[in-house]
Symmetry: C2
Subunit: 92 residues, 2 copies
Amino acid sequence: MKPEITIIYCTQCKWLLRAGWMAQELLQTFETEIAGVKLQPGTGGIYEVWIDAEQVFSFKTSRRFPQPKELKRLIRDIIAPEKDLGHNDRGI
Amino acid sequence: MKPEITIIYCTQCKWLLRAGWMAQELLQTFETEIAGVKLQPGTGGIYEVWIDAEQVFSFKTSRRFPQPKELKRLIRDIIAPEKDLGHNDRGI
């Protein structure tokens, strides 16, 4: 079964747009490897990225937002280690 | 339990962008009424909108794409009949 990615974002902080942008980045890169990306409203400064039941990024822990390149490498290393991310998202 | 909306879109037809746009429209309007919106890649000209296990829109049946206003009224009538959609999305 393909994994599902969830992005939980803070509605009070108006983070829907950046969450929506990141969802589309991930769907473009992992089009065939994931079951989908769920955008989930939250509150209180939350911005987290999960693969199924595993949290892979948290704003509260990192005190910053993930760049697409960084998040794609994190996700790739878990769900498709052999996948080449291409010149856009390869090196950090 | 809040309902989850799923938008299944055709990757071959490059319909991610319109699906991503619609997801953000729905999340903005139904911020407190839904558990989230899942964007799900598909193929073969698919563009469907589901509320949990109930299909509420299908491109294959309608032969066109839903306007936000129309889709919001469809969803509102099912998940929050008493909700006023505001001047933007009220009248058809």
